[in-house]
Amino acid sequence: MISQDALQTINRIIAAVFGGYAFTWGFSVLAIATLVALGIDFHEAETAISLVAFLVFLGLFLWTFAAASMIRVWLVLAGGAGVMMLIGLMLQTSLLS
């Protein structure tokens, strides 16, 4: 039997690594699309966001271990990833049309 503590820990590791990655991905999509929509050169936007993205990931990674409620962590990580991805994709479609 896996103990409650171990399950909790596994949950946090998965949230920190995969949840954090998903959020960072969504953030990058939305941020690059937004910068391009604001008239910034595509590669400029890509470079700028690559300099910020891993700091966002790092923050999320540590926060996941420090946070009191894992439900809130998952809501922010998965929810944030989904919403940002969606808006980013919509922005891309409107930029290309």
């Binding site: 991905w25 990058s28 999509v29 690059i32 300099l51 891993f54 271990f65 991805m85």
Partner: protein, 565 residues
């Protein structure tokens, strides 16, 4: 699960640091060796022990060499699996693009190109329609270097530090990427759990017990080199961001990316596709002269670092010439593009924007193409400080727990200690063992490079078995004798490597330092001697018997173990 921020950060620091620390050891150690990868290449391939030289004449030297370039058999096989039908005979494939690359430390020149293939891809979205070829050329003689001569520095130690040389599914890159993130997390959490950071900066008590002095060393190396470590782990992620770690612009945002590329190609006037009309090639040397003239005009005279040609033999073909960045932190740049058939300038790249200046400065600082020997050595020491910080972390982990584990019969610290031996002395043994093998195996042995790689992994594997076999004292709260034994062996092997270099090539230190100075080889030999001295010193230190008093100390110290264990 955790009652406080400090406790949760302590957990991340201890456990994430432990698990990924084994990977980080590899990154920092082989990263430090990569600073002198070209010099290690010279040591390992004695035929190339001559002075670095600038990019040779394309028209006279390089042009005929590209005609001998062949598609890489490994890439042929990989491409075969991605396309419909069988590929034509490699001899008949036509080169469609090429490049040449050199740095201020390279006597030899890396050339390569892409060969067009007629086959359709299996996946229609796959636009990678060519096979690569690569070769190393001796520009003095125009000869290609034997493929079996592995460049141990730049083709083994260097990729080791970012890919672990595990290329299956890019697994090594992803493990290293996660380790880099954990390194950043380890640094931040380390600051949070150690509040007296300024005091620790000046605290080192080597005369205290092993636990105290390794804690001091861990904190000191962690704090002193904190900006250095943070910077390297961070830029490692940034360098591979757009192609590997966060390829949003090649996946989710691919449509936007392609749209932009089309606009940009129009704006730059660099044709994206061939015209289908054959055209001759004008003098490339004249283009190089023009590029150098324009650089000099901008007050940044320099040598060519990178030269490439696209759509070879086609009306739309163009030549791109980039300046070597040996006098600045940022990488190659100031590209000037010429029409291949006429030699007229199509485009001169404008000065960098603010964002790309920052990016190129950061990545350039990691990749260090600049010419500054003292700074290079500081990089080596910085990398080794990182390795010390991680290795002392392992020792702390073991010293803190082994007494408790000895009492309740746990094997935890015994396993961690054996893995620590494997990744500290075992890793250095593998690297030095490879150099010894390099000098022992005959130069004309078929598959020599393969043999060297096999020996590298075998030595490392044996070091692990040895560490595991000798590990039982740790379960009784004593030291693993493998530390000392492997240190002794490392000292002997390092001296052996220096001796073998002398015997097999005639390049001894008196010659390479004084009479016929060649610092690349002398530097590797001297570093091996220093390695041997440190290893013998460590072995001598480790011979001091462990008294009962010390074990009692370890047991009483157990009470100080933090709550997050």
């Amino acid at each position: 699960m955790f009652n406080s921020l400090r406790m949760s950060m302590g957990w991340v620091h201890t456990w994430m640091g432990l698990v990924l620390g084994f990977v980080l050891m590899i990154c920092f150690f082989f990263g430090a060796l990569s600073v002198f990868d070209r010099e290690i290449d010279r040591w390992a391939i004695p035929d190339t022990r001559f002075e670095p030289q600038p990019m040779p004449s394309f028209d006279n030297v390089l042009k005929p060499i590209y005609q001998q370039l062949q598609p890489d058999p490994v890439d042929m096989a990989a491409t075969e699996r991605r396309v419909v039908g069988t590929l034509p005979d490699p001899e008949t494939l036509k080169l469609e693009s090429l490049f040449a690359y050199t740095t201020h430390r390279d006597p030899v020149l890396l050339i390569g190109g892409e060969f067009a293939i007629p086959n359709q891809p299996i996946d229609p979205a796959d636009d990678h329609q060519h096979v690569h070829g690569r070769a190393t050329v001796n520009p003095a003689t125009g000869e290609m270097l034997n493929d079996d001569a592995l460049k141990i520095g730049s083709d083994w130690f260097y990729p080791m530090h970012f890919s672990l040389n595990l290329n299956w599914m890019m697994l090594g890159y992803w493990i290293v990427g996660l380790a880099a993130l954990v390194m950043l997390a380890g640094l931040v959490s380390g600051i949070i759990i150690h509040r007296k950071i300024f005091r620790e900066f000046f605290t080192f008590r080597p005369w205290k017990n092993l636990f105290r002095s390794s804690l001091d060393l861990h904190n000191m190396t962690g704090v002193v080199a904190l900006p250095f470590h943070f910077f390297f782990a961070f830029t490692a992620l940034v360098i591979f961001a757009s192609n590997i770690y966060l390829p949003v612009t090649h996946t989710t945002l691919k449509p936007l990316h392609e749209h932009h590329e089309m606009l940009e190609a129009e704006r730059k006037g660099l044709p994206h596709e061939p015209a289908g009309i054959p055209a001759p090639l004008a003098s490339v040397d004249a283009m190089v002269a023009e590029a150098k003239r324009r650089w000099a005009e901008r007050n940044m005279a320099g040598e060519v670092g990178f030269l490439s040609m696209n759509h070879l033999g086609d009306e739309n073909g163009y030549v791109s010439i980039y300046r070597a960045g040996s006098d600045r932190v940022a990488l190659v740049g100031e590209g000037i593009h010429f029409k291949a058939s006429t030699g007229e300038v199509i485009r001169e790249e404008p000065p960098r924007s603010v964002v790309s200046s920052i990016d190129e400065f950061l990545t350039g600082l990691h990749l260090q193409h600049f010419e500054h020997w003292m700074l290079r050595w500081l990089y080596v020491f910085g990398g080794l400080l990182g390795a010390i910080c991680i290795a002392t972390g392992f020792i702390l982990f073991v010293e803190k727990r082994k007494a408790k584990h000895a009492r309740n019969g746990s094997q935890g610290s015994r396993i961690v200690d054996a893995l620590a031996v494997t990744t500290v002395t075992g890793m250095v043994l593998a690297a030095v063992g490879m150099l010894v093998a390099n000098r022992l195996l005959p130069a004309d042995l078929a598959g020599k490079g393969q043999w060297e790689q096999t020996i590298f992994w075998s030595v490392w594997g044996l070091a692990f078995l040895h560490a595991a076999w000798r590990s039982s004292p740790v379960a009784k709260a004593r030291y693993n004798p493998a530390w000392r034994e492997q240190s002794l062996l490392l000292g002997l092997m390092s001296l052996c490597a220096v001796g073998l270099n002398w015997v097999t090539t005639g390049d001894h230190l008196i010659k390479t330092v004084f009479t016929d100075t060649y610092w690349a080889v002398a530097g590797v030999d001297l570093s091996l001697i220093v390695t041997a001295l440190i290893a013998f010193y460590a072995a001598a230190k480790l011979r001091a018997p462990v008294t009962e008093q010390k074990i009692d100390d370890a047991l009483s110290r157990n009470k100080q173990v933090n709550a997050y264990d």
